[in-house]
């Protein structure tokens, strides 16, 4: 079916092509490039040659094909014939209908001309009649117009004659606006004819206007009038060509004067506010000046608003004025915060100023007052923060130094403890108070604070950081550890540092610990709690903790140093003065032992007041000393063994024993790290003292008695030292060392007999008991 349909289509297509070529005038043009060879056998082509085609067909095909072709061709030709016939017929039909239509049109056009002529006639007649009417009415109209003009003129004249009266009336009713309008309306006429016919009239009206001007001016200057009225007056005056500029100048000067009045105000307010600090019950008192001030500022801003409306070109000056006011405000504020001010007071004044600024800003938004004041406020706030911190530091050092003065009077008692508590409280309380105050600042919702919140947080954090840092250095300076960097003062510092009581150093050390462990974490906590949003990390508690930890260690070390220094001086005197080679037989324990013990006792007292008690003994050290204690005990047993032997033998063997014992002993950690416990500090002090003692002994040469004296002293020292000290093994070791050193430096080593030793010690003990009370009171520490 499809194969059948395809040739059918092909056939139809060819047919259409043929027909279209029939109508086209010159088909050869459309296909100029068709080659000759193809055109021959293309039966539809224009250059088709029937003979050639025939030859080709005969040559190519057999009979069947030819026959078939013949039938096909015949059919096609028949088809073409019928198609052609149909076309001709259709065309003919169309032609006939066209001729019919033309015939009908022709008959319709006839008869139109007559109607047109009639229309023209009618229009002509209408025109002629209207002309007639026009000419007949012309004269009358002209007369009317003339009459009208005269009447207008007359009315004007009437108006001018009436002007003075009218103006007077206006003055009476204070309708200056109308008056000015009338006057300006009549002005041109008066100018032209004023000298002739309207002379009187003009004079009268001018007089009236002058009074009007005067009235207006008074109105302008009078503060009681409403701003609207004043502004109107100014406008009217301007319309009357009165020189307004001079007026404006005058007014602005007046405004400036009023500004001077305002400038004093904040100062007074601050004074009064301060006054209020002392007497808080009189709150109304505080409200009073604040209100007055507010009213004043409000008035000022109103005036400004008015002037702004009145003289739009005077803005610059107003800006200047407003700025001057704000700057003076903030200057006053700075003066004010130079004294100690609580945050609440500060805030109060700040609020007032801010309100002022807001008021003025409403009036003069272009003056950028808020920006200006924001800058100024930043500066003042910063200063405020800095000042608060410095005040706190002052407070703390005051508490510390106050004690220093008292301290000299009272050596005993709990002074140190009290001071530590007081100063610790001062630090803690002070910082928290400060923090509260800053919180207050932050909670303040005044616009300016909201803007500066982030900055403020930053400052506060930085402030804390700086505060603690400066506090640390201040501590060090107080302790006399770091002589000031200023070289000229170096000597002075050095001298004064000796005067600083050792107890103070201890207090400072412990205070540093308190700050490190309590204050800083607390502040850090509060900071994180309240400025959780603040991403700036100006406050670094870790670093501060480290700083204070280092400081506390340094101070503690310094304390021990100063203490041992004192003892060392005692020892030095002891060892320098006598000739040890010619020493006499020991009769009693030497004085210096008393002094040593007394010093140690003092240390113990101070330490007890300040430092916490070590809760447990340092296991670490006792572990490492485990072997020490056994060896030392062994050495003592050896010692007791030897007692039986003869003196000379014993002397030598004792030396040998001590050497031997030393070999077995581990190197005792004499210089361990100091901890913040009573025991640790005392132990360290004792250790250092004994070490010094040993060194002094080594520098001398002794005879027998000298050695015995040392032996006696050391023996006596043993008991009380062991009582006070944590690390007995180390003390034993050091005491032994002293004896060894003395024996090494002795020309004739013969130790005292134990009974004599005991006897002497007992005697000393009895004596010291007897003098115990006196000793404590009378002997002044050197």
């Amino acid at each position: 079916m499809a194969t059948e349909a395809a040739p059918m289509d092909e056939k139809a297509k060819r047919m259409r092509d043929l027909l279209s070529s029939f109508y086209t005038p010159d088909p050869s043009i459309s296909t100029p490039t068709s080659s000759i060879s193809t055109s021959f056998d293309n039966i539809n082509g224009p250059s088709f040659d029937a003979d050639q085609y025939m030859d080709l067909m005969i040559k190519k095909s057999n009979l069947d094909v030819l026959l078939q072709r013949h039938v096909q061709m015949a059919a096609e030709i028949k088809n073409l014939d019928t198609d052609l016939q149909m076309l001709v017929y259709e065309n003919y039909n169309k032609f006939i209908s066209a001729t019919d239509t033309i015939k009908r049109m022709k008959s319709n056009i006839f008869g139109m001309e007559g109607n047109m002529d009639q229309l023209l006639h009618k229009i002509m007649s209408v025109q002629s009649r209207s002309d007639g009417v026009n000419t007949s009415l012309f004269e009358k109209r002209e007369h009317i117009e003339k009459l009208h003009r005269t009447r207008n003129l007359l009315r004007k004249v009437q108006f001018i004659y009436d002007l003075p009266a009218r103006l007077q009336k206006c003055i009476k009713s204070e309708a200056y606006g109308d008056a000015v309008r009338f006057y300006t309306g009549a002005m041109p006429i008066l100018k032209v004819y004023g000298d002739t016919s309207f002379k009187d009239c003009r004079r009268a009206s001018e007089e009236a206007i002058e009074t009007i001007i005067k009235n207006l001016q008074t109105k302008l200057f009078s503060d009681s009038e409403s701003i609207q009225a004043r502004a109107e007056a100014a406008v009217l005056l301007k319309q009357l060509d009165v020189p307004v500029d001079s007026l404006k100048d005058k007014l602005l000067e007046k405004l400036e004067q009023s500004l001077d009045g305002l400038q004093i105000n904040p100062d007074e307010a601050s004074k009064l506010a301060e006054h209020n600090v002392s007497s808080k019950d009189e709150e109304s008192n505080n409200q009073g000046p604040a209100k007055i001030h507010e009213d004043a500022v409000r008035g000022f801003s109103e005036a400004m608003r008015a002037y702004r409306e009145i003289f739009p070109d005077s803005e610059e000056r107003l800006f200047k004025l407003a700025r001057a006011l704000t700057t003076t405000h903030f200057e006053n504020m700075e003066l004010y915060i130079r004294k100690r001010v609580s945050a609440a007071d500060f805030l109060g004044i700040f609020r007032i100023i801010w309100e002022d600024v807001v008021l003025m800003d409403e009036v003069l938004p272009e003056a950028a007052l808020s920006d200006l004041s924001a800058e100024a406020a930043q500066v003042t706030l910063k200063q405020f923060v800095a000042r608060t911190f410095s005040h706190l530091q002052q407070d703390i050092s005051d508490t510390l130094l106050k004690f220093d003065i008292n301290q000299k009077e009272v050596v005993d008692g709990e002074v140190l403890k009290v001071v530590l508590e007081a100063s610790g409280k001062a630090v803690l309380q002070g910082t928290t108070d400060i923090f509260q105050e800053f919180r207050q600042l932050l909670d303040e919702n005044t616009g300016i604070f909201v803007k500066m919140n982030d900055l403020l947080i930053d400052w506060i954090q930085k402030g804390f950081q700086d505060f603690f840092r400066s506090l640390e250095s201040h501590f060090l300076v107080l302790s006399g550890k770091t002589s000031s960097s200023n070289e000229t003062e170096g000597l002075v510092e050095g001298k004064s540092s000796e005067k600083i009581h050792a107890g103070l150093i201890l207090v400072l050390a412990q205070l540093s610990v308190v700050i490190e462990q309590k204050v800083i974490p607390r502040i850090a906590e509060e900071i994180t709690a309240s400025f959780s949003g603040g991403n700036s990390q100006a406050f670094i508690p870790g670093e501060l903790c480290r700083v204070f930890h280092a400081a506390s260690e340094k101070l503690l070390q310094h304390y021990i140093d100063t203490r041992t220094q004192k003892i060392s001086n005692v020892l030095r005197k002891r060892f320098k003065t006598p000739n040890w080679v010619k020493h006499k037989e020991p009769r009693e324990v030497h004085m210096y032992v008393d002094m040593l013990l007394q010093q140690l006792e003092e240390v113990g007292k101070e330490v007890k007041q300040i430092l916490p008690q070590g809760t447990f003994r340092k296991h670490k050290r006792s572990d490492s000393n485990g072997s020490n204690t056994t060896t030392s005990s062994r050495s003592t047993t050896l010692h007791s063994d030897k007692m039986a032997r003869s003196n000379s033998q014993r002397a030598r063997s004792q030396l040998f024993e001590t050497h031997l014992a030393k070999l077995f002993k581990q190197k005792v950690e004499i210089f361990t790290k100091v901890e913040f416990t009573q025991e640790s500090v005392v132990t360290t002090t004792v250790k250092l003292c004994l070490k010094s003692l040993q060194e002094y002994v080594r520098l001398q040469t002794f005879n027998r008695s000298g050695f015995q004296q040392i032996q006696l002293d050391i023996q006596f020292l043993k008991a009380p030292l062991k009582e006070t000290v944590e690390d007995e093994a180390a003390i034993d070791f050091l005491l032994d060392e002293v004896i060894v050193a003395a024996s090494e430096r002795c020309l004739d080593v013969t130790p005292l007999e134990p009974p004599i030793l005991d006897k002497l010690i007992q005697a000393k003990l009895a004596k010291s008991k007897e003098h115990n009370n006196n000793n404590n009171k009378t002997t002044v520490s050197s």
Binding site: L491, K576, V581, I670, K691, E695
Partner: protein
């Protein structure tokens, strides 16, 4: 001692306090030490660092009649040295010559060149003039300062001048200014005194209590280092004598001696009774150097302690840098151990 490697040890038989670098020995790195023993025979040891630098060899062992408190080697003759000794009750000072050739035999005797016997009290130290060729000596006791002129060929020493410092200042030691042969610094109870040898007058002083030891910086004029009981080591600029230029923490107990490195001006060595030897980097905080070294200096100033050698078991008293090889130093502890 080289770098941070462990030291080379040498044991003396007896206790000892002093060690000195033999400056005149240009071929070897040598040190002299003297023992301090009341009852036994005292010795002077001449120690030499073996060529490989790995061993400390005893080159000579000489007997000395008394216990030696101070010892100083002559800067121009390696065989000459001075000692301060005590016989228990009295003190003396003498100049000795090591016999030639150094006998390997035990306890060969020393030739006494001269005896400095103008003192009565406790003699503290003998100083050789550092200029090298000069034959001047200074000896100090607690009150006096004596300038000697030595004639080694005649085996005699003459007192050139003598000046008393007064009873109040008990002099304890001193150092001769290497930059100015007429100036000597002496430590006393309460201050450091500077003496002009031409006039024998005290010209200047730094108020500082309990200074144990003093040394000039050989490389940089006006710089002086002191060690004291209280707060360790101070570095002074003599032109600004009121306050120290720098302060180093020193030792946990007394800082006994301090020495500047002869070559590297920033290096300072100190020994103390806490049995430690500390090597410090004192970033020459002078203005000139500050700029070029600021980065390094700031780093170093954070921790001026470069190294702490804690090999000793007893207090360390003796200390000397080697002048020939400035990266060696010798230190001496009381129990007679020498470490390099």
């Amino acid at each position: 001692m080289q770098g941070g490697s462990s030291g080379i040890g040498y044991g003396l038989k007896y206790q000892a306090r002093c060690i000195s670098d033999v400056k005149a020995d240009t071929d070897h790195t040598s040190f002299l030490t003297g023992t301090l023993s009341l009852k036994e025979e005292n010795e002077v040891h001449l120690l030499r660092l073996s060529s490989g630098g790995s061993e400390l060899v005893c080159e000579g062992l000489f007997s000395h009649p008394n216990e030696i408190w101070d010892l100083a080697s002559c800067p121009f003759d390696q065989r000459i040295f001075s000692t301060v000794f005590s016989t228990g009750e009295s003190f003396g000072a003498a100049i000795w010559q090591i016999p030639e050739p150094y006998g390997q035999s035990n306890s060969s005797t020393l030739d006494c060149v001269a005896s400095l016997d103008a003192h009565v009290g406790k003699i503290n130290c003998v100083l050789w003039c550092p200029s090298g060729k000069s034959d001047k000596l200074i000896s100090m006791d607690e009150q006096n300062l004596v300038l000697w002129s030595l004639d080694s060929s005649k085996k005699s020493a003459e007192v050139v001048s003598k000046e008393s410092a007064g009873m109040r200042h008990s002099l304890s030691g001193g150092a001769w200014n290497p930059h100015d042969v007429n100036s000597v610094a002496a430590t006393s109870e309460s201050s450091i005194q500077f003496w002009d040898l031409r006039t024998m007058k005290n010209v200047n002083s730094i108020e500082r209590a309990h200074v144990r030891n003093v040394d000039y910086n050989t490389k940089r004029e006006h710089i002086l280092v002191t060690a004291d009981d209280e707060s360790g080591i101070h570095i002074w600029d003599l032109r600004k004598a009121k306050a120290p230029v720098q302060e180093l923490p020193g030792h946990t107990h007394w800082t006994w001696a301090v020495r500047c490195n002869p070559e590297y001006e920033e290096l300072i060595l100190s020994v103390g009774t806490d049995s430690a030897v500390n090597l410090w980097f004192a970033s020459a905080s002078s203005e000139k150097q500050a700029s070029e070294r600021s980065a390094e200096a700031s780093r170093q100033r954070v921790n001026p302690l470069l190294n702490s050698y804690t090999d000793y078991e007893d207090s360390v008293y003796g200390l000397a840098w080697s002048s020939r090889e400035p990266w060696f130093f010798a230190s001496l502890s009381y129990d007679g151990r020498v470490l390099n």
